[in-house]
């Protein structure tokens, strides 16, 4: 382990400080951090609006006589558990990081482990969704079989695409945390956490929508 310590510096690309520094909890001190936090919420708003459009399409479409009933593949319950658990692990990781002052510290190591757990759970969710589609196909329900299956595939697929974006962000964060001589922008972690929790909440909504309506 190198003797030089790498500080976790909120928001700036300052590489010059080689001393231990008290980490400042995220307060949005720089305008760029505030802008990225606004950006994430604006993005969340847009994604919500898109799924609102899909939802209204569902409500209009269900008024026709060929509306059937779709039994939810059982693996979906497990997937939901995975995704919600991943939000918990991400929160533990984030709070550990907030308490950490340097990357090699205990807190930071805990943060890395729990972040890895988040990655595993998030990937498990994606794999599980694929298995859900397999289960449906095995039961003879494809994209165009009936309107219910169409909506199921569309909603879950678009959701998974957004989950994958979140997974990519988590992989990037893991990479930054693992590298011993990197600087680490806390705001990226915070924003990824906001996005990831949103994706979890969105899934709960979509799952309930599919359970009740499809």
């Amino acid at each position: 382990m190198a003797s030089t310590v790498t500080p976790i510096v909120p928001g700036s690309a300052d590489l010059s400080s080689r001393n231990n520094r008290l980490a400042v909890p995220f307060v949005g001190s720089s305008s760029a951090d505030r802008a990225s936090r606004s950006g994430i919420w604006v993005g969340i708003f847009a994604i919500t609006m898109s799924f609102a459009a899909f939802t209204s399409a569902l409500f209009v479409r269900q008024g026709t006589p060929d509306w059937a009933h779709l039994v939810m593949p059982s693996v979906l319950y497990l997937n939901t558990l995975f995704l919600l658990a991943s939000s918990i692990t991400l929160e533990i990781s984030r709070r550990s990081l907030t308490a950490a002052t340097i990357i090699e510290s205990d807190h930071a190591r805990r943060a890395k482990i729990w972040l890895l757990a988040t990655f595993v759970l998030g990937t498990a969710f994606c794999v599980g969704q694929y298995m859900a589609w397999q289960q449906l196909r095995a039961a003879g329900f494809y994209l165009a079989t009936n309107p219910n299956s169409s909506f199921f595939y569309v909603l879950t697929f678009i959701h998974v695409l957004h989950v994958l974006l979140g997974v990519a962000a988590i992989v990037y964060l893991l990479g930054r945390l693992m590298a011993s001589h990197s600087t680490f922008r806390r705001s990226l972690f915070e924003n990824t956490a906001v996005y990831w929790h949103f994706i979890g909440v969105l899934w709960v909504y979509l799952f309930l929508l599919c359970l009740v309506k499809l």
Partner: protein, 590 residues
């Protein structure tokens, strides 16, 4: 939401040709790129409209060279009726998406919003670059529709289902042409969402010290409100396009009902709702037209104040009116669907906010007119187009009052009355805002003046020409001239064909005048008279930097703003104006 100075460098100074001019992170370069794309699209769209108008009046005429554009669509140079619809579709799509969303909003907004709020760039420069090149990709995909043998789709820029969803049975161009349209517009949605996100985050968080929201220039407000509208609107069009593509290629039936027979073939779908497409599309489509007009309203306000050397009657009321228009724009989409077969009670529910939205629009017009009254305005090309905007907005907007009422719209829907209405407000008024902005900001963007004489000739030709083209359309609509028809062979239209001929001639002449503008643009860019930092004695922050501005807008300084941006005619000030970043004490308060 408080303002602090930007504390860090948003991106490094550009090095090398590719970073400087192609994949630039600089919002100014990206703004110019959007403008260039809009320029190409507008001339393409104008050319298409010429072809349409010529065919309408001389349906059997041989248009030299047209067979090169499409062997199937114009064999021997004579346009087929279906190809007329293809050209109509591409004209609308290019103009609404690639001109009216790009030029007033993406181009000028990208260039000037950061400077006007005192920031050194947009909040997310990489997203910004991505959104331009994604828009460019969307344009390329759309233009591919011209190249494929079957040609572009014939369903109009609105691509109503079920005909847009069933494929080739709906007619030529409805196989790959319509798919290319769907993919192109879906890509465009993603690009616009990224752009809107950038505008919103930048406006909320990168304002300079002293720049409160109420101290932002009116055009900045217009861009900010437009980006909020765009965020929600394009977020709904994207799912609609996805569902349409699925219906076309994956055999789903979101939009296609059962028992549909097209080209004598029973379509293998059932249960879909054609009206669903209209709801989703117009939920986007109506805010889209406000996306087209709001930035021009802001630009025109900004220019008028500068030209009159006095502020508007109330900038606050202008801001609140624009906010109301933005808010109400989401409640009126059903007025495009009065005759679609939906519940008449729904029609009433949509008609009411449609009539309500005329109130803030009228307030804006009255403020402009009231501010102009008694003002000594300096007439430049920019201010002429700004005043012309008001004329066009009123002329085009008044027909909206009629269309807003279901009882009248039952008759007027699908006629030239509608075509005249939307061309006046979108095609002319919105474009006048773009012209005004170009003449006004060209010195800042290039360090050179545009030629004022050519500009004024351009203005008069365009002003008179567009009135000659589009006002008669209202009359034609009233007598029952149906729209989206490739020619008029019915007896009842015969006495009015002369009017169509006149409109075509006016269109050709007015279109030719636009080449004056293009020439002016290109010539002045290289050989125009040099312009100083503040050629119009403006007060907003863009006039406090060099022409053109340095890569990080303000160099090493962080501007501090002391008051609102429209301190003109201030007694006791040096000159008749006080710049926004001048701490000079004013006679009156903020």
């Amino acid at each position: 939401m408080h303002e602090t100075s930007a504390q860090q460098v948003v991106h490094a100074p550009p090095q090398g040709f590719w970073r400087k001019y192609v994949f630039s992170l600089d919002h100014k370069v990206i703004g110019k790129q959007y403008y260039a794309l809009a320029l190409v699209a507008v001339f393409t769209g104008m050319f298409l409209s010429w072809l349409m108008r010529i065919h309408m009046v001389w349906p059997t005429a041989k248009i030299v060279g047209l067979e090169l554009l499409s062997k199937n669509g114009a064999p021997g140079g004579v346009m087929t009726p279906e190809y007329y619809l293809s050209l109509l579709t591409m004209h609308g799509t290019l103009m609404v998406f690639f001109v009216l969303t790009n030029a007033p909003f993406a181009a000028f907004g990208n260039y000037f919003l950061p400077i006007q709020i005192g920031a050194e760039d947009m909040a997310f420069p990489r997203f910004n670059m991505m959104s331009f090149w994604t828009t460019f990709l969307a344009w390329v995909v759309l233009m591919l529709a011209f190249v494929i043998p079957d040609g572009p789709p014939i369903a109009g820029w609105t691509e109503y289902t079920p005909l847009s969803a069933v494929g080739r049975d709906a007619g030529p161009g409805m196989q790959w042409g319509a798919s290319l349209w769907g993919i192109s517009i879906a890509i465009f949605c993603i690009a616009s969402l990224l752009g809107a996100l950038n505008f919103i985050a930048t406006t909320l968080d990168l304002r300079a010290k002293g720049m409160t929201l109420m101290r932002m220039p009116l055009c900045t407000w217009a861009w900010f409100i437009t980006s909020c509208i765009a965020l929600l609107a394009f977020a709904v069009l994207l799912p609609a396009c996805i569902l349409l593509i699925l219906d076309r290629h994956a055999g789903t039936s979101f939009f296609i009902p059962g028992g549909l027979v097209a080209s004598d073939r029973l379509q293998p779908h059932s249960g879909g709702s054609p009206l669903l497409w209209q709801h989703l599309f117009w939920f986007f489509g109506h805010p889209e037209v406000y996306i087209a007009i709001l930035p021009s309203m802001g630009i025109v306000s900004h220019i008028l104040i500068n030209s009159m050397r006095k502020p508007l009657l109330s900038a606050k009321v202008v801001i609140y009116s624009m906010l109301s228009i933005g808010f109400l724009s989401y409640m009126v989409w059903g007025h495009h669907m009065f005759v679609s077969g939906m519940n008449p009670l729904s029609s009433l529910t949509f008609s009411f906010p449609t009539l309500t939205i005329t109130i803030p629009a009228t307030i804006l017009t009255l403020i402009w007119l009231g501010s102009l009254y008694g003002a000594r305005i300096q007439l430049t090309s920019a201010s002429l187009f700004a005043i012309g905007f008001i004329s066009m907005f009123v002329s085009g907007g008044i027909s909206g009052f009629f269309l807003a009422q279901p009882s009248l719209d039952i008759y007027l829907h699908g006629t030239y009355f509608v075509v005249g209405h939307f061309h006046m407000v979108m095609g002319v008024a919105s474009l006048f805002g773009v012209f005004a902005g170009t003449y006004f900001w060209f010195p800042k963007m290039t360090g050179r003046y545009m030629n004022e004489t050519i500009g004024k000739v351009h203005f008069w030709f365009t002003f008179i020409g567009t009135y000659l083209i589009f006002m008669p359309m209202h009359y034609l609509g009233l007598i029952g001239n149906v729209r989206r028809y490739q020619s008029f062979v019915n007896d009842y239209m015969a006495p009015y064909l002369w009017l169509h001929k006149d409109m075509t001639i006016a269109a050709l002449i007015t279109g030719a005048a636009q080449f004056l503008f293009l020439f002016n643009l290109i010539y002045s860019r290289f050989w125009g008279a040099p312009a100083p930092e503040n050629p119009w004695n403006g007060t907003s922050l863009e006039w406090s930097v060099s022409s053109p501005p340095p890569w990080n807008n303000f160099g090493d300084r962080h501007p501090i703003v002391y008051h609102d941006p429209y301190q003109y005619g201030v007694k006791g000030s040096k000159g008749d104006f006080v710049m926004q970043d001048s701490p000079e004490v004013l006679a009156s308060g903020d």
